[in-house]
Amino acid sequence: MRTLPVGDRALLVELGSGEETEAFHAELLRRRAAGRLPAVTEIVPAARTVLLDGVEDPGRLAALIAGWNVAPLHARVEPAVEIPVRYDGPDLEEVAALWGVTPREVARVHAATEFRVAFCGFAPGFGYLTGLPARYEVPRRATPRTSVPPGSVAMAGPYTGVYPRSSPGGWQLIGTTDAVLWDPAREPAALLAPGTRVRFVPRDVRGR
């Protein structure tokens, strides 16, 4: 673990792996909930880093963090968020070919995986979900689509994600969901937040 100053009011904590990053993020949230973290405006986890923004004294916080014992990540007690999905995406066949299996097997493996939201970004409500073994990583599409429909369940690199709204995108589309990922009128607005556990529940292509 190392800390890098970001301007005068932020700190970037860099960790060795995705798991360490999630464990460190969970530690930050525990300490903040217990009132044992100096005031910060934003805690933004990402692939290998956690950004702490809006910090009064980043140098002091860095020194504090250096002395922490970060607890290893353990499964949360709250139930996983279930996202109904139809495995009918236009890139399902291509992903199946990359894995060397049938499209039906892609759906089976994906639906049998327990995912975790490693971090959010790209658009409000878009979570980067980890959980698939490394052998199932797939590249982004060579040419991004100019418009990906909302509710598209997609894969790229080690991540699965669900497009909250229509946007350009280069991920491989394997399915579709009617789940509402982002609704500012709802509390909470985001269905998925960093740390949330997620399961995809297959639905018949015809509906239920």
């Binding site: 890098l4 100053p5 970001v6 301007g7 005068d8 009011r9 932020a10 970037l12 405006t41 934003e42 805690i43 933004v44 986890p45 990402a46 692939a47 290998r48 880093t49 956690v50 950004l51 923004d53 809006g54 971090f119 959010c120 970004g121 790209f122 658009a123 409000p124 409500g125 878009f126 980067y128 709204r165 500012p184 607005a189 985001a190 937040a193 960093p194």
Partner: protein
């Protein structure tokens, strides 16, 4: 004609509703947003007796015109521009009483880029996650104004409009941005860091509320390959593959995968919001 609302007569090139933004949601992918020149936003609010967090209009280059349905005190500040009520010139940078049904116009900016229009009571569009700011990256908050848009106004504040003159910084002839190197300055060659510190850049016309783009010598990377996505801050100087630094402004993405060579001091960003395309830019790094 007594309801507290205004109708947009001329929306201008890009006029949005802005307040102090919605910090605290970056972990969900929600940009901070908010007035790009927060000092100007706070000053026009003070001039009409509003709290500093009341929502104002932010114009871009050619101003806007609105017709309040009730008599209301307004103030126009930020980028200097001619201000008229039903075509008659009135004061810029000072409280002005606009009668019900009259047209208030903030004309094209003569110095600077973004003018701010405050109304006593504030623009009372529906807040999203605690803010009325239009976020152009993710589409949160009220849509940019269009001709005919009607926006509600809040109840008139108890505070009297602040009289008198207030100091307005002029827009920069040269945009001087003090930066602190890092977090990814080690992704660039020593020559690139020297270039950033010594060479002249210019504000690109492709700049917007998301970022101030620059034109100038490209910064050469010392590290090839991709940076895993990481959290981004206001003022981050991100360097995309073309090597030209982009300074992140209020609607910046919350995470990004291009290395940040340095971060601009927050108090220099208001000037960045007022720098017209072509303005010379100088980066002054500190450790």
């Amino acid at each position: 004609m007594t309801d507290r609302a205004l109708a947009v007569v001329r929306a201008g090139a890009l006029t949005t509703v802005q307040d102090r933004g919605r910090p605290g949601h970056a972990h969900l992918g929600v940009p901070r947003s908010g007035a790009l020149d927060p000092y100007a936003g706070a000053l026009v609010n003070r001039l009409v007796g509003n709290d500093a967090d009341a929502a104002v209009l932010e114009t871009t280059l050619d101003g806007c015109a609105v017709r309040p349905r009730c008599a209301v005190t307004v103030a126009v500040g930020g980028a200097a521009c001619p201000v008229t009520v039903d075509g008659r010139p009135v004061a810029w940078g000072a409280p002005v009483r606009v009668p019900a049904g009259a047209v208030l116009e903030a004309g094209p900016a003569v110095r600077g880029l973004r003018s701010y229009v405050a109304f006593a009571g504030g623009v009372a569009a529906d807040p999203v996650l605690g803010s009325r700011s239009t976020d152009l990256l993710s589409g949160l908050g009220p849509a940019p104004l269009r001709d005919g848009t009607v926006l509600p106004l809040g109840p008139a504040p108890r505070a009297a409009a602040a009289p008198g003159a207030v100091p307005w910084p002029g827009p920069p002839r040269e945009l001087v941005l003090h930066v602190r190197l890092g977090p990814r300055d080690d992704w660039f060659t020593r020559a690139a860091l020297h270039t950033l510190a010594t060479r002249a850049y210019r504000v690109s016309p492709a700049s917007n509320r998301i970022g101030l783009r620059t034109e100038g010598p490209p910064l050469e990377r010392a590290v090839a390959g991709e940076l895993p996505s990481e959290g981004m801050v206001l003022g981050a100087v991100q360097v995309p593959p073309d090597g030209r630094p982009v300074v992140f402004l209020a609607d910046h993405p919350t995470t990004g995968g291009y290395p940040v060579v340095a971060v601009v001091r927050e108090r220099d960003l208001a000037a960045a919001a007022q720098a017209v395309p072509g303005t010379p830019v100088r980066f002054i790094p500190t450790r």
